[in-house]
């Protein structure tokens, strides 16, 4: 075959490839991306997209509004119902109601994403096996879906498989570093394991990716708070609230910051701002603000103010709250305190120590520790605080502050029990994380007990 024939053939093949590539490009350019939602209404789908974006940012109140509008536009939208369920159901009965509505829908219309979300929602938080099966089933068809992969990591977190959870988040971020929820979760996880610098990298990256979201500023605020970088923490929470003024976690964070910092009036002001925000309704109703007011008075050793605050509070929906329990032991009503501990136990199951949801068992040990220290059973109290520390350190969000409160109580318990060396060691350990904590965060009632013991 002559050379020119070969060249002509090669040129022809090249032109054919170019032509094919051009056609492919044109098709790709003009082809529409398939929507993950089954709704036939474009407006409903737009609302779902907007709601999902807010959901990713943890703007659950805003997300709920979008999902509500989507449901109004398309009552048969499974996605709208599921996400409403995720963002608004506060109790098991509410969740059951959503499940009933979802079951009434035509499952044949569901998209794959919707089927997955429905299965997850119906499984609830406690059915790990079903959640796991749903996630793996979905990932077998969509192995690169970041949301599902993130779910898989969250499951490991919930199962307290911390190493596996960390590895899972890392693998996800190596391929999809823009998945901010994983950045935030991994940051919290490594922070709770004492790797604050690493956690800061993740939170800063989160902030870099989404500077207009309140989430990263809030997480950084928590990290700075725990590290004793109070000014930076204050700035971060403020920035979060500038980004979204009704961002309840940031208001909550500010409350904690000022409490730990010893700025009790500012703490009360932050509590007031929280109560003023409609978006924080669930928080207020859950007894958060009430508890903080009581705790604020407790730290100032003003029992009358604490009693007044308690009187202004509605009864907590679960029958217990941090503030009420604190007030009970402060007033010496140990039976009432023990009743609240029992309530936690009921919620957590027959054996709260084996409770898989971390904060409940942590709470239980903490409550018991506080009661025991006021009953002057300091050694037992110290053991409870020690057990609580193991659970509370893995809490997410502002509940991590409770770990510090627990630890401070633990130090007091050890000192009151006369185990000074252990107390000093623990104090050094805490000061290594937050060098200013013991300068500003003192509990007058326990200080008095300590002084009495020394004398």
């Amino acid at each position: 075959v002559k050379l020119w024939v070969k060249i002509a053939l090669a040129a022809g093949a090249l032109l054919a490839c170019l032509g094919a590539a051009l056609l492919g490009g044109v098709y790709w350019w003009f082809s529409e991306e398939e929507s993950p939602w089954s709704s036939e209404s474009a407006e409903a789908r737009a609302e779902l997209d907007a709601g999902y974006r807010d959901f990713e940012k943890a703007y659950y109140a805003d997300a709920a509004l979008h999902f509500e509008r989507a449901r109004e536009l398309d009552p048969k939208s499974a996605a709208a119902l599921v996400f409403l369920g995720f963002t608004t159901s506060e109790s098991e009965s509410q969740r059951a109601d959503f499940v009933k509505q979802i079951d009434a829908l035509d499952r044949g219309r569901f998209t794959d994403v919707e089927r997955f979300m429905v299965r997850l929602f119906k499984a609830g938080k406690q059915d790990f096996e079903e959640r796991q099966a749903a996630v793996e089933d979905y990932l077998s068809r969509h192995p690169d879906e970041a949301f599902a992969r993130s779910m898989r990591c969250d499951l490991l977190w919930d199962r307290k498989q911390w190493d596996d959870a960390e590895a899972c988040y890392r693998a996800l971020l190596a391929e999809q570093p823009q998945w901010v929820q994983a950045q935030d979760r991994l940051g919290l996880l490594v922070m709770s394991r004492g790797r604050f610098a690493e956690a800061e990298d993740h939170f800063v990256t989160y902030r870099y990716i989404a500077p207009n979201q309140a989430g990263p500023h809030y997480s950084l605020g928590i990290l700075y708070l725990l590290s004793g970088r109070y000014q930076e923490s204050e700035a971060a929470f403020t920035r979060a609230l500038e980004t979204k003024s009704d961002f309840c976690p940031a208001l909550s964070g500010l409350t904690h910051l000022y409490t730990v910092w010893g700025k009790y009036p500012q703490a009360l002001e932050a509590i007031g701002r929280t109560e003023a925000q409609a978006a924080c309704r669930i928080l207020v109703q859950g007894g958060f603000t009430c508890s903080r007011r009581i705790f604020n008075a407790y730290l100032q050793n003003d029992l009358a103010k604490a009693v007044a605050a308690d009187a202004a509070c509605a009864p907590p929906p679960m029958g217990y709250s941090l503030g009420k329990h604190q007030l009970a032991v402060w007033q010496g009503d140990f039976a009432k305190a023990a009743a609240m501990e029992e309530a936690i136990g009921r919620e957590a199951g027959s054996d709260p120590a084996k409770q898989q949801i971390p904060f409940l068992s942590g709470f239980w040990h903490y409550f018991r520790g506080v009661r025991l220290i006021f009953e002057d059973r300091f050694g037992e109290a110290a053991e409870e605080f020690k057990l609580a520390e193991g659970e509370l350190r893995y809490w997410t969000g502002d509940n991590a502050i409770l770990a510090f409160v627990n630890n401070v109580h633990w130090v007091y318990a050890l000192e009151l029990a006369g185990r000074d060396q252990e107390a000093q060691a623990l104090r050094r350990q805490i000061s290594a994380i937050n060098p200013h904590l013991f300068d500003t965060f003192k509990i007058p009632v326990l200080e008095a007990k300590l002084a009495a013991r020394r004398n």
Partner: protein, 848 residues
């Protein structure tokens, strides 16, 4: 036979692709795209991409980003790998201010930095230097390929140049973040991987595989020689294999494959190893090359490669990972310039790869043309000024006249200036060329062989500075030294491989080039060694259209100055002229020898004629006549009268010797003398005995020569004729009434000298008065008419029968007349001899 394919077009296509790829790479960098000036570590994946370099003055440099920092994100997007960075950057425009997330210290969080994107630059000084180097090397390779497309070494060199170009332009460039960035960089890596075996391949072959040839026939090197001659594709696969294995090992170990300049460290070690082997091969070639000039060139290339490439490899392994890019470019890339420079210098100065170039003249001619063009441009400007001030009617004519003047005068003017420059700047060269031209003309006009040889071996070395030249002439299957130093061998073998090679490549052939033939024919190696030891450096074939004349051997030149292209052409022409002059001289010599031979033959003919008796003695009562006419100047026929002791008897012999001309004449002389001497020395011998003895003697002379002989003996007052015929035609008897018959013949009548065994027998016949006996040689019957017809026996019998003759003399004359008439003036085919006898009343003598 397998048809040999020409790979040059394919190589040129590959070269065009390499050039196009390099051009694409540079074009890609020149396109107005946003640029931050960061050089990221390719292949790195995970959180935080290490920054390998920061281009000075770039936006990243202005923002304070430094090498070693970790890049976490661009434009609010966290990065997974450098390609991701490229995609993000492509979404922005020049002038955009975008946030980068950079982490510097491990214990501190990443910080956000604003960069204002700028237009891409082709890179700073070192990168520009690297591109220039790549193109310089490419053009040197292209030049070598175009000048020596048939040489494997030049083809490998060109391939190596292409790979070098791709590596320098595509692999070392800063990333452009364009869509083709990774493709270009990837091809740069492929080029780098192939570069290692290409270097080794080239160094083994450069400037010719002298070392390989020297070990080709040693059994212990057989595998190495096979690998280096046939197994090259395997060597080219080794780097890819090493790369793959490195990747596999890293994967098995769960480690990340660390890449330096796109390749793992193992690839760089391999490059270093291949280079070391290449340097060793180059050094071995230098040792095995006989020409001092070439050796110098090879050593220069070796040094250039050593000092150019070694820092590149070392710096790549030890500096690229940790040192700033500028340091790597300074110590690694800067010395690379030595490679193309030394190659170019060696090619120009020492004519490596048999490449001659003329730089000075071309350069000067270009300047001349530019000068003349400038003059014309000035002229045009002046005319325009003139035309603009002239009358409007002249305005249209002036440009036309101007264009005409340019067409007519430009080239003559340029030639004039060029000649002037030649005389001014290249007088030496010009004189040399003139001398060569004159020598060629003088040799062509020369007819004296010795003078031509003198010009060749004395004047030519003086003119061109050769230490000697020598001429060898063909003598049968060998070449014999005709002129030249006595140190040279007196004879050389004539080898067909050498002859074919010299005939293929006219003009001067370097001896080393012939050495390459030793792989096919080992005797060529010995031939080359023999000449090389005598100081011969080049050989030229001398051949005319008619024949192969011989060889001219040339020594090296004093000062080792290479001959320029024009001088080589003149020398080739001169060798052709020498061949022509030698052919002319040889022809003249041969003509003179022929003339001399003919003269000698004439003398021999005279001597031969004088041997024939002018007077034949015959007893009374008998008449005799004889005639002998040679077909050539000298002949093989004869007749003679033998000296019988009895005066009353007479014996005549007439002979016909096999062979003609000189050989026939010599045999005739021998036969004549043997017969005469035996008759004289042994009186009383019977004719049969005489024939027996003569036969034995002639048999001893040579097996392939023999003599047909007739014997006729008469006695006084007797009618008896004693006769003996050996190999001659039968004797004819003519009676007075015209009847003709053949006399009886003996059984054994083989010519003398044909067979050692004898058995001759004489016969007798009584002749009556008036009867004639005719003896003749076969030249009579074999005479040919111009039509090709033979005279033949029938015609002879008819002439003898019908001729009105009474005496032997008349009979001989009649037959001769008839034969002459038959051949019609043409030369006789064979000698013609006639002897006739007859009875008469009284004795008579006749002249032959």
């Amino acid at each position: 036979m397998k048809k040999e394919t020409n790979p040059t077009p394919l190589l040129l296509i590959l070269g065009a692709l390499a050039f196009g790829l390099a051009g694409l790479s540079i074009t890609d960098m020149l396109l107005p795209r946003p640029y931050d000036g960061l050089v990221l570590e390719a292949g790195k994946q995970g959180v935080g991409i290490p920054i390998q370099g920061v281009v000075a003055g770039s936006p990243a440099d202005k923002a304070g980003i430094r090498q070693g920092d970790l890049l976490f994100g661009i434009a609010r997007e966290p990065l997974a790998d450098p390609r991701h960075a490229a995609r993000v950057l492509q979404q922005h425009r020049i002038g955009d201010r975008i946030y980068y997330l950079i982490k510097r210290e491990a214990e501190k969080p990443p910080v956000e930095t604003i960069l204002q994107l700028e237009r891409r630059r082709i890179g700073d000084g070192p990168y520009f230097y690297a591109y220039s180097l790549g193109f310089a090397f490419f053009f040197v390779g292209l030049f070598v390929l175009v000048r020596q497309p048939g040489l494997l070494t030049s083809r490998v060199f060109f391939s190596m140049s292409c790979l070098f170009l791709i590596f320098l332009v595509c692999r070392l460039r800063p990333p452009t973040y364009s869509g083709i960035d990774s493709v270009i960089m990837g091809l740069g890596t492929v080029a780098f991987l192939l570069l290692a075996p290409a270097f080794l391949h080239f160094y083994v072959l450069f400037p010719r595989p002298a070392w390989l040839e020297s070990v080709a026939h040693k059994p212990r090197w057989r595998q190495v020689v096979w690998l280096l001659q046939r197994g090259w594709p395997l060597l080219y696969l080794v780097p890819e294999l090493v790369f793959g294995l490195s990747w596999l090992v890293a994967k098995v170990r769960g480690e990340e494959l660390v890449l330096l300049g796109g390749a793992p460290k193992s690839s760089w070690w391999l490059l270093g190893l291949f280079l070391l082997l290449g340097f060793a091969a180059l050094g071995a070639n230098a040792n095995h090359i006989k020409s001092q000039r070439e050796r110098q060139g090879v050593w220069m290339v070796l040094l250039g490669s050593l000092f150019g490439l070694a820092p590149f490899v070392i710096a790549s392994i030890w500096l690229a990972a940790g040192e700033p890019t500028s340091t790597y470019m300074l110590f690694g890339i800067l010395p690379l310039v030595l490679v193309p420079i030394t190659f170019t210098y060696a090619i120009v100065r020492f004519q490596l790869l048999d490449i001659q170039i003329i730089l000075r003249r071309s350069l000067l001619y270009t300047l001349t043309t530019a000068l003349v063009t400038g003059l014309y441009a000035a002229g045009i400007a002046m005319f325009n000024v003139f035309a603009s001030s002239a009358r409007s009617t002249a305005k249209g004519v002036v440009p036309f006249l101007l264009a005409l003047a340019i067409v007519l005068l430009f080239d003559p003017l340029r030639r004039r200036i060029q000649e002037l420059l030649d005389r001014s700047f290249f007088a030496g060269r010009s004189k040399l060329q003139t001398a060569l031209t004159e020598l060629g003309e003088a040799m062509t006009a020369q007819v004296d062989l010795q003078a031509v040889v003198r010009d060749l071996v004395e004047r030519l070395p003086q003119i061109l500075g050769f230490r000697f030249t020598a001429l060898y002439r063909m003598r049968g299957a060998t070449l014999e030294r005709v002129a030249g130093p006595l140190e040279l061998p007196a004879n050389l073998p004539l080898l067909p491989e050498v002859q074919r090679q010299l005939q293929r490549r006219r003009g001067l052939n370097r001896l080393d080039l012939l050495g390459a033939l030793s792989l096919r024919a080992p005797e060529v190696g010995k031939f080359v060694d023999l000449l090389s030891r005598s100081g011969v450096e080049a050989v030229a074939d001398l051949a005319s259209r008619r024949r192969h004349i011989g060889l001219v051997l040339f020594s090296g030149r004093d000062g080792q100055t290479p001959l320029e292209e024009e001088e080589l052409e003149l020398l080739t022409r001169l060798i052709d002229q020498t061949a022509l002059a030698l052919e002319t001289a040889l022809l003249l010599e041969e003509t003179a020898q022929q003339a001399e031979l003919e003269r000698e033959l004439e003398i021999a003919a005279t001597i031969q004629a004088q041997l024939l008796p002018s007077n034949l003695r015959i007893p009374s009562g008998w008449q005799v006549a004889a005639s002998c006419r040679p077909a050539r100047i000298v002949g093989g026929d004869f007749f003679a009268q033998l000296p019988l002791p009895r005066k009353e008897s007479s014996a005549l012999v007439f002979g016909d010797v096999s062979g003609k001309s000189v050989s026939g004449a010599l045999m005739m002389m021998a036969a004549h003398e043997v017969l005469y001497t035996l008759t004289l020395a042994m009186p009383g011998l019977e004719p049969a005995e005489l024939f027996e003895l003569t036969n034995r003697r002639l048999c001893a002379v040579g097996k392939r020569s023999f003599v047909a002989l007739g014997y006729l003996e008469t006695s006084e007052d007797s009618g008896k004729l004693k006769y003996l015929v050996a190999g001659q035609p039968p004797l004819l008897l003519r009676r007075p009434d015209g009847e003709v018959s053949e006399l009886p013949l003996a059984t054994h009548r083989l010519p003398l000298g044909a067979m050692a065994k004898g058995g001759y027998c004489q016969l007798e016949v009584d002749l009556q008065p008036g009867e004639l006996v005719l003896g003749y040689s076969d030249g009579v019957t074999d005479a040919r008419a111009p039509s090709g017809e033979f005279y033949g026996e029938a015609r002879l019998l008819q002439v003898v029968s019908h001729a009105d003759v009474k005496t032997p003399e008349e009979l001989v004359a009649a037959v001769l007349k008839s034969v002459e008439a038959f051949v019609a003036g043409a030369s006789l085919y064979d000698d013609v001899t006639l002897v006739a006898l007859g009875r008469c009343s009284r004795g008579n003598e006749v002249s032959a």
